[in-house]
């Protein structure tokens, strides 16, 4: 067994970077802070790769099972005699895989940002925030228990709030960061209740104990507590899933993700492609054995929310014209894939688990590639809108090629990475939930279509284009990450993933079936072909198609009016039904009564004028009314 003493350095380096750059960077070494941050995160990335090497290759599986290791584990506090809360680092296949993904993508984003954020007045602050975010995310994936994961979960939320709202002089960025924070916090509270219930039921917060306790046959036989017709464990799982759905932008909690694109583009690549948004998937995967207990029902919620979000987001993505928003909806759609892949799995058929994690892995590379590429495009044309783009392939050759690779990967064209992971997901769905499979198939056609619509409209479409203020494609610090990520978008698919990551932590093998792949690949190619026909050159085919489907298009363009619905509920319903009456009661009844009493006791009031002491009598009246009310209730209970 190898030694993992160095493991705590992986999260410590970025937090040290945050403290150092945050406190001193701004004043003493603003220009160097970017490279210092990159160096620290680079070291973390190397250590993570080394951990993966040790864990998967050197130690390997003992008797065919990868062990769950706790290189760091300390009791943080003893809550009751039977329930203690620990802080620790858990190493198992999925957390090691996430370590690599998070540190690696973060490293790429750091390198890219040294170029992208150059000349920004709060350059050092930006890197301090990036470091804080990376630290929180690393803490999240390494957590050994629910309580700890919640703390880091919230830290991730806070640091992403800082990053999304980085341009705080832009009102839309401020609004977006606030929205992201509030929506995810709203979901997190359900998560918190879920944790409380799980803790009380399982008598532990540790993942290993929760899984052991809640899936043991004795527990399943004896436990019968229900609430509103469902078992309490199901409730807990659904509540935890709501927390995950908030962070992972699943319908209907997705509304913050598109707006969050107001943040700097490298932030979108880091947070909204590879790390924070997959936290929900990771959480469900962590508790997968509990979700997978037959009859809990929670797993079906995961499956159907997942597939619905996948399709829903893909439809919206087809109509958006802001390129970052297209990518945002595409992320939501791909995470929907990962979610339903988990949802269609069970203890007997756990291929979906592997496929979901595999997709998480490959998606991290090609989606951050696409975001970073979009950043260069935006840099070149100074706009997010497709209308201002077209024919850029001459100006941005490297971006063009790498972006194309990213699009091919996400569209599932072999032999790019997305093909392999998506095949796994579709196959898993096909074996257990054919209904989900067919929807997913349609969605993958849509995916290919909207991605290539994006691609053609950016790089082709217009024949002649003159860019004003064009200063070249960008520094090598920005192009280099693109090349690396593009390489990985091709290579990652060939990793024998099932050999390393399965639901039971055994060494599995990858399913490949050429006959099965024909349908998804053909549908993907069809999507690409349609996009090519409509958008490669300037023509009116697309407009005609839009005109034909005006109603559907309009609805999808307005994101199915979900934002409006939310505004309606929060502003109109809550404000009118709760806020207004509360204000009204306060103004009319409370104050009115006060005024009335003041009038009645005018004599006394006059003597101590100006002290509004009329009110005190009012207080007394409320006080005694309260006493009488309580007495009545008490006597009622007693009887």
């Amino acid at each position: 067994m190898s030694n993992y003493d160095y493991i705590s350095l992986i999260p410590i380096l970025p937090i040290a970077g945050f403290v150092l750059i945050g406190l001193a960077g701004k004043k003493y070494f603003p220009a160097l802070s970017g490279w210092l941050a990159t160096l620290l995160i680079g070291t973390s990335a190397v250590l993570s790769l080394f951990t993966a090497y040790q864990y998967f290759i050197v130690d390997g599986a003992a008797n065919g099972v990868y062990p769950q290791l706790l290189p760091v584990d300390m009791q943080w506090l003893q809550f009751t005699n039977t329930l203690s809360i620990n802080m620790g680092i858990l190493l198992d296949p999925i957390s090691v895989m996430m370590l690599v993904v998070v540190t690696f993508v973060s490293l790429m984003v750091h390198i890219y940002s040294t170029g992208y954020m150059k000349g920004e007045s709060r350059y050092a602050t930006f890197f301090a925030y990036l470091q804080l975010f990376t630290f929180s995310m690393l803490g999240l994936v390494m957590s050994s228990n629910l309580f700890q994961i919640y703390i880091f979960w919230e830290l991730v939320g806070v640091s992403s709030f800082l990053l999304i709202g980085f341009y705080f002089d832009k009102p839309s960025a401020v609004a977006a960061s606030k929205k992201a924070f509030i929506v995810t916090r709203f979901a997190d509270l359900f998560f918190l209740i879920g944790i409380l219930i799980t803790g009380v039921t399982a008598h532990s917060f540790n993942f290993t104990d929760i899984i052991a306790n809640l899936t043991s046959p004795e527990f399943l036989k004896e436990y019968s507590a229900t609430f509103l017709g469902f078992s309490v464990v199901t409730w807990a799982l659904v509540l935890i899933f709501i927390g995950g759905a908030g962070k992972s932008a699943m319908f209907p909690l997705h509304i913050w993700l598109p707006d969050a694109m107001e943040g700097p583009t490298p932030v979108s690549a880091l947070i909204h492609a590879a790390t924070m948004v997959v936290a929900g998937v990771y959480l469900v995967a962590r508790l997968f054995p509990v979700f997978a207990i037959t009859g809990s029902g929670a797993i079906d919620v995961v499956a159907y929310i997942g597939i619905f979000s996948a399709l829903f987001a893909a439809l919206i993505a087809c109509t958006q014209t802001d390129i970052k928003r297209v990518l945002a909806y595409s992320t939501m759609s791909q995470i929907g894939y990962m979610m339903f892949a988990l949802g269609v799995s069970s203890q007997a058929h756990d291929a979906g688990f592997t496929a979901s994690m595999f997709h998480l892995f490959t998606h991290a590379f090609f989606k951050s590639l696409l975001f970073l590429g979009a950043g260069l495009v935006i840099h070149a044309v100074h706009s997010n809108d497709m209308k201002d783009m077209g024919g850029l392939r001459k100006y941005l050759p490297i971006t063009h090629i790498t972006f194309l690779i990213g699009c091919l990967a996400i569209a599932g064209v072999p032999p790019f990475a997305g093909f392999f992971s998506k095949e796994g997901i579709l196959h898993a769905a096909y074996t257990t939930h054919p209904d989900i499979y067919y929807v997913a198939l349609v969605t993958s056609g849509l995916t290919a279509f909207y991605m290539f619509r994006l691609y053609f409209r950016i790089f082709w479409n217009k024949a002649d284009i003159h860019l004003h203020h064009f200063h070249g494609e960008g520094a090598w610090s920005m192009k280099f990450p693109l090349l690396i990520l593009a390489t990985l978008s091709i290579a990652a698919g060939f990793v024998p993933f099932a050999h390393y990551v399965t639901a039971t932590r055994t060494e599995g093998h990858m399913h490949t079936d050429i006959m099965f792949s024909i349908a998804p690949v053909l549908i993907g190619l069809l999507g690409i072909a349609v996009a090519m026909m409509w958008y490669k050159n300037e023509n009116d085919r697309a407009d005609k198609a839009v005109a034909m489907m005006r109603g559907v298009y309009r609805t999808a363009y307005h994101k199915f009016y979900i934002d409006e619905l939310y505004i309606f509920i929060t502003k109109k319903v809550i404000f009118n039904c709760i806020g207004r009456p509360a204000a009204w009661i306060d103004r009319n009844i409370v104050d009115g009564t006060m005024n009335f009493i003041a009038l009645m006791t005018g004599e006394i009031s006059d003597s101590i004028k100006g002290m509004q002491s009329g009110k005190v009598q009012g207080y007394a009246m409320y006080f005694f009314a309260g006493v009488i009310g309580l007495t009545l209730i008490c006597l009622y209970i007693w009887m």
Partner: protein, 467 residues
């Protein structure tokens, strides 16, 4: 005199001695004023706090009227700590005040009242010490002598207190009439669910609910908090409330344990009502002091949930929460009092652009508000988590859900202040403030407390071990 007299009554005696020293300083021929007087007093209060740490006496005095054990010592130390922080924070305000010494004499009198109240083992003693704790506070509320609203606050406080004391006293007499004793031990054995005792219980409950400013007995809070000087407001909202929580738990857990089923229902109702009303009204406030008043009402609702656990975890979580609440609330009040003393600005819109001019203070206030809202990794999260955990043990899921929803609502209004400070423009922002040594020290203590109390598990475990 019993052997253990000095060790059991250590807190009361030390505080009394300090009170007399301050009195002598005031009466002395050569009057010390201003900074030097404050230096002496704050030094004494520091000694008071440190000496308290060495107390772990266990024993009772005066025919079982007065009792002390390590938990009670710890609770008194929490109050001492809070008093020291408040005293450090109010340095700039008191420096130019003509009656600094009197302020401290009255303040210490009230503190001694609270000490006796926490140690009381007899309803008579509870009542007496409660009055000793309350009446000086009315005088303190009036300490901005030239301000009319300060006098108004004092007037309102004393009159409202009189109601609640009357009701409390009535309740105590009913219980006495039914059982024939005021001793805790005797009452707790004789307690049973009959109308007379339940009525007595309701009256006692209402009396304490008033002091806790739980809804619907909270109406006085906002007016008094707004009108009183900030130091007094902090004292009322943190120390006075903390002491009452401690006594309230003792009374519910010991005296009325036999009628748990009855008081749990009431507590549940009041907790929900308090949270909802506190939050709804906090949302509408523009004045930061009023805002904190209502938010502190909502916080009381959370404490009541933890108390509802009716277990040693409930007690531990409540004491732990009070400790954390002292740090968070005093950090918030500290910044607000500084701004209010130096510029007179108290409204949320005045805080627009505060971050640009005073980044450090803005961060402190943000941390404090995050802690009040219960966002990890600030201590406030841990406090709330344990309260909810203790409350959830009763399997009352609706209560936990309501509490969680209230946490969302509260997040909204706490964030409103943060947003104003960090993200909004202001043509006329609060200028760069000179914090001064002593308020800065107080803020450092608070920030350290609200970052470390949660992350270091030992704090909770220590309380758990002495409960």
């Amino acid at each position: 005199m019993p052997d253990n007299f000095f060790s059991v009554m250590q807190f009361e005696l030390v505080a009394t001695v300090i009170m007399f020293i301050v009195l002598l300083l005031r009466l002395g021929k050569k009057r010390i004023t201003g900074d030097s007087l404050l230096l002496v007093i704050n030094g004494l209060l520091t000694i008071n706090l440190l000496v308290g740490f060495f107390c772990n006496a266990h024993g009772s005095l005066f025919g079982d009227m007065f009792f002390s054990n390590p938990l009670i010592c710890f609770q008194k130390s929490i109050l001492n700590l809070g008093l020291l922080i408040i005293s450090l924070q109010s340095w700039p305000w008191l420096k130019n005040h003509h009656h600094t010494a009197e302020f401290y004499i009255i303040l210490l009198a009230s503190l001694i009242g609270m000490f006796f109240m926490i140690s009381a083992q007899n309803m008579f003693m509870v009542y007496l010490s409660l009055e000793l704790a309350t009446i000086p506070l009315a005088a303190l509320a009036n300490f901005d002598l030239q301000l009319r609203r300060s006098g108004e606050a004092a007037m309102k406080y004393i009159i409202s207190s009189a109601f609640s004391s009357g009701v409390l006293l009535f309740g105590i007499s009913l219980v006495y009439g039914a059982i024939g004793s005021l001793n805790f031990e005797v009452i707790s054995i004789g307690m049973s669910a009959n109308p007379l005792m339940i009525f007595g219980f309701v009256l006692i409950f209402a009396g304490f609910a008033f002091k806790l400013s739980a809804a619907p007995f909270h109406l006085w809070t906002a007016d008094v908090y707004e009108g009183a000087p900030v130091a007094v407001t902090s004292y009322l909202s943190v120390i006075s409330k903390g002491a009452i929580v401690f006594v309230f738990i003792t009374i519910l857990y010991r005296l009325f344990q036999n009628i748990f089923d009855t008081w749990y229902q009431i507590l549940f109702l009041i907790a929900v009502l308090t949270m909802v009303i506190g939050n709804l009204f906090a949302m509408r406030q523009q004045n930061l002091k009023r805002f904190l008043a209502f938010s502190s009402i909502a916080q009381v609702g959370f404490i009541l949930i933890g108390i509802g656990g009716n277990s040693s975890e409930g007690l531990t979580a409540s004491v732990y929460f009070v400790l954390i609440y002292i740090f968070s609330n005093l950090a918030a009040f500290g910044v607000i009092s500084l701004v209010s003393t130096l510029t007179g600005k108290e409204s949320i819109s005045d805080y627009k652009g505060f971050y640009k001019t005073n980044p450090l203070l803005a961060w402190v206030l943000t941390l404090a508000l995050f802690s009040l809202a219960g966002i990890p990794p600030t201590a406030g999260f841990f406090g709330k988590f344990f309260l909810l955990m203790a409350g959830a043990a009763q399997d009352n899921y609706p209560l936990v859900i309501i509490a969680a929803l209230n946490m969302i609502v509260s997040l909204y209004y706490y964030l409103r202040v943060v947003k104003a400070m960090f993200m909004e423009e202001n043509a006329d922002p609060i200028q760069k403030l000179k914090t001064g040594v002593s308020p800065a020290l107080a803020l450092i203590i608070c920030v350290a407390g609200l970052l470390l109390t949660g992350l270091i598990g030992g704090a909770y475990e220590y309380i758990s071990s002495i409960v």
